[in-house]
Amino acid sequence: MKRITRLLLLAVLGGAALIFSAAPAGAAGESIEGCTIEGVDEEILEGASSEEIILLVVAALEEGDPDHSSEEYKDALHEVEEIVAECIEAPNVLLPEINEVIWGAVGFFIVLIFIMKFGWPAIKKSMDERTEKIQAELDAAEQAKADAEATKAEFAAKVADAKTEAARIIEEARQSADQLKADQQARLNDELAAARAAAQADIDAAKSQAMAELRGEVATIAIGAAESVVGANLDRAAQERLVEDYINRVGSNS
């Protein structure tokens, strides 16, 4: 939309330029067509140069004033010179020097056709190449960006994987450590239980041996005590004292 406005502006400027320029090319020439000088035949004016016109006019005036002395002659001469000068310097602004425009324009358009035919393809090619180059560069940049993003994503995935892996390894290590601990605990408990059982067995064995020994000892003691009782016929009190003594003796011996 904005570009259309700009192109419209361009068209308006171009149109204005054309309107302005259509008129004035004539100033380059020396046209005196359209100029009229009083008292001079128009047919003589046609095709005559400015100096020839002045000479014609001066000749016409000289006929009436051969001495060139009168003010009238000088004024008239001056006036003629001014008119002619004005005609030459400023021909009708609305009448261009049409033949100059034609020759110039034909020459220009021939050159323009040459340029369009031979120069334009080269220009077009270089401009297209420029477009393609920029397009390619943009594409390459886009591609590089996409690649970089892909790589980044890949790396992010890898990092995530590594993290999971690490967590898994730690978890495993913890589990195996726990396992190890539990195993050791169990083995220790077993060993303790075994040790305890062995100790118990030892104790039981020692106990039963002691009991057997004690039983034999007691039997011996009882036999001894009976011997003592039998050997000395004593009263009850004496018997008890004898047994007591014996037991005490045994007790202190054992």
Binding site: R6, L13, S21, A23, A27, S49, G104, I115, T131
Partner: protein, 263 residues
């Protein structure tokens, strides 16, 4: 004033070559006789300003350039790579708008030399080249004063360092004259003279064609004369471009010289 050749053959008064002032002086369209008199030269000036402006405005800012935008961007690249980088260096990019404007104004103004119905190079009148030359003078002197300071700039423009003291008496006036007077003058005159010469050449062959066409016998020579007109038209298009380029390049060289005194 007029030259009469082939008078015998010509029915209409022979070859009349227009006087030089008629080649370059134009009647006023508007405000005749005032300081603001608007004639063809003024119109071409306005167009030489307006055409590049409209081109740049209409170019658009697509990411991938095509058509007009390609042309406009290519011209900026051209000024960057052919004018600014070799003449000033990367720090000269701030003068890109100035140099680009000079190039386009001179080039488009010159191009009206061959545009039908205009047929008048803007710079075949001394006014525009003179103003551009003075503009360049002001810019490079300002750059010199800004970058180096007034004293050092005047000193560095006074001649190469290391000369015997007495030599400066001789060298300094020459250097000052060459830097502050001859530079803008030569810029302006180079442009003006080239375009005026081209314009006169085109008019010569144009008038020759017109006159020969009207004669009976010599009309046979018209193809040669017209061939020259066509060839010169092409040549002048090239000259128009070259003058714009040279003006911008020399302006850049002067600015670069003011920026780096011992370049």
């Amino acid at each position: 004033m007029s030259v009469n050749l082939f008078a015998a053959e010509a029915e209409g008064g022979g070859l009349q070559f227009p006087p030089i002032e008629n080649l370059v002086e134009w009647p006023a369209y508007l405000f005749e006789g005032t300081f603001a008199e608007f004639n063809k030269i003024a119109l071409i000036s306005v167009l030489a300003m307006a055409i590049p402006t409209v081109m740049f405005l209409a170019a658009g800012t697509d990411k991938i350039p095509s058509g007009l935008q390609n042309l406009v961007e290519g011209s900026v690249d051209f000024i960057d790579n052919q004018v600014i980088l070799p003449a000033i260096g990367p720090e000269g990019f701030k003068f890109r708008p100035l140099l680009l404007s000079i190039f386009f104004f001179v080039f488009i103004g010159n191009l009206f030399e061959v545009i039908p119905t205009f047929h008048m190079p803007l710079n075949a009148r001394m006014a525009v080249p003179a103003v551009l030359g003075i503009l360049v003078l002001i810019v490079f002197v300002s750059v010199g004063i800004k970058e180096q300071g007034l004293g050092p700039y005047l000193k560095s423009s006074a001649g190469p360092s290391g000369l015997p003291k007495a030599m400066y008496l001789l060298v300094t006036p020459i250097e000052y004259l060459s830097t502050f007077i001859v530079r803008p003058f030569s810029l302006a005159v180079r442009l003006f003279a080239n375009m005026l010469a081209g314009h006169i050449l085109l008019v010569t062959f144009g008038v020759l064609c017109i006159t020969l066409w009207q004669t009976s016998l010599l009309a046979l020579v018209v193809p040669f004369s017209f061939g020259m007109l066509v060839a010169l038209t092409g040549f002048e298009i090239m000259v128009s471009f070259l003058q714009g380029f040279v003006f911008a390049l020399l302006a850049a060289v002067y600015i670069g010289g003011a920026m780096h005194p011992h370049h």
